[in-house]
Subunit: 285 residues, 2 copies
């Protein structure tokens, strides 16, 4: 069956690469002078995969995904899937203070109005996928990350910045057949806490620190400085989503040998492509 | 029963006036540095009426309404109503070119995820309210408009810019006990069409032209110029929603004796308040 891809405004940066592997549906997407989005699907079919990343302006990208869903079902498409490389609101995943929403739940319910299947990349809390009424899957691009750093790392090791992120380090390490571990916090005085890598010797080794999102980059810089003190050779930092705060790319880049993120969000250090994973979703059928 | 009002970012301009008549729920609404909205409801209750107008940035205001709905239901509110003085996407109400969505349907389905009742003001096409899964009502602020123009108009008449808008002129005219009619298009040469008021003599009379939305104001200016040629005395223009394009307020104001809109959208000519209608929704219970 021919699966057709629809590229939303938040996935324009992936269009050229996807078009080399899949069939794109022509769509018209524009904004009216008052700021309202207008979308129009220019081809027909049975099944479509919408690709829409929801970085800033996230709310516009989300409403656009909703409108594309309405247009596709109005046009007779029977099965709709959506790939959201970076899902906005995924960090608002629980009520930490009474009165808060579970924002990611609201977004998933909204997407569920039109889409049968949802695919996200390295979501902050995979449990939240339960809020989506249809089939929802989380993709971790371990191979893409591993392949990018394979030669640079050599016999190095992979570290997660905390225990919660260990699974990522493990997945990447397994592809490369390398050692992996995580940092933990150690109280060194009543007021001072420092990070240290657990049960591994980094001295003389190349190290890759793996996380899901980098925003300010503060943790990554701290981790890198500690590794350097401990005698690590080359230090690399990778995250799936580069939600960089102002100046973060420069600050992290200065502290390490290389910083890279995937292209779920287009940034100047989005050197690792997730397009293969998306193309595979279209081939499965 | 105590009904609590929640003021969204798009209704900030109504907050002071509403607070004089109703009980407001304290909410915290802010934006994270990456652009994500954060909302938090700081009080508890059984029933709430969210007030959120969805002019630009309309998508942010819509997503905020969704998040508020999630927060309120998470906080235990059992019945949720939403008042949307100006509903974005309401003009995208049909498929005019194949492949288009019915955008207003998508928005109403989204709101229906959390809200039991929807109240809008002077929606472009009242039939579209059928897309809302719960109770949906359209409010036309005829009394507020009529009261504002009562003394200015005197024994004048009310005109709709076209037959489709006649119901509005009728509603306002009935409050004031005045005559009403509409413009129609008359072909005066193979290439030229002009507007003329049907079956009424405007000579020497004050005239109020009534419409739902003014954006460029082109139609209103044309209509006013014709009325002036026909000897009308004072010419007033009113619309429910002032979705003004750049420079439209100035252009329309110059062409007529007075331009006024309601405060569904805050503009410098939003002289007519709809707050009484909103307050009444809270009193009904």
């Amino acid at each position: 069956m021919k699966v057709l891809f629809v590229i939303g405004s938040g996935a324009k940066h992936l269009e050229e690469e996807i078009s080399r592997h899949g069939n794109l549906i022509n769509v018209e997407i524009k904004k009216f002078p008052d700021g309202e989005k207008y979308v129009r699907v220019l081809e027909r079919g049975k099944e479509a995969i919408v690709i829409q990343s929801t970085y800033h302006p996230q709310d516009e990208n989300l409403i656009e995904a909703l409108l594309l869903g309405d247009a596709l079902s109005e046009a007779g498409f029977k099965k709709l899937k959506i790939v959201i490389p970076y899902l906005a609101y995924s960090r608002q995943d629980r009520v930490t203070k009474e009165g808060e929403p579970i924002s990611v739940r609201a977004i998933m319910k909204m997407l569920g109005l039109y889409y049968d299947e949802l695919y996200v990349f390295d979501i902050h809390n995979p449990k939240t996928l339960e809020h989506f009424p249809g089939i929802a899957k989380n993709i971790y691009p371990a191979e893409a990350i591993a392949n990018y750093f394979k030669d640079k790392l050599g016999e190095g090791l992979i570290l997660a910045p905390d225990k919660g992120a260990l699974e990522r380090a493990k997945r990447v390490a397994e592809v490369l057949g390398l050692e992996y571990s995580h940092f933990e916090k150690e109280r060194i005085s009543p007021t001072e806490v420092r990070m240290k890598p657990v049960d591994v010797d980094v001295n003389g080794k190349n190290v890759l620190i793996v996380d899901d999102i980098i925003s300010t980059g503060g943790t990554m810089i701290k981790a890198a400085n500690i590794l350097r003190e401990l005698g690590a050779k080359e230090i690399f930092v990778v995250a799936t989503h580069g939600v960089f705060a102002e100046g973060a790319i420069e600050r992290v880049s200065k502290a390490v040998n290389e910083l890279a993120v995937t292209n779920t969000i287009p940034t100047e250090v989005s050197k690792i492509s997730i397009v293969d994973y998306i193309v595979k979703l279209g081939e499965k059928e």
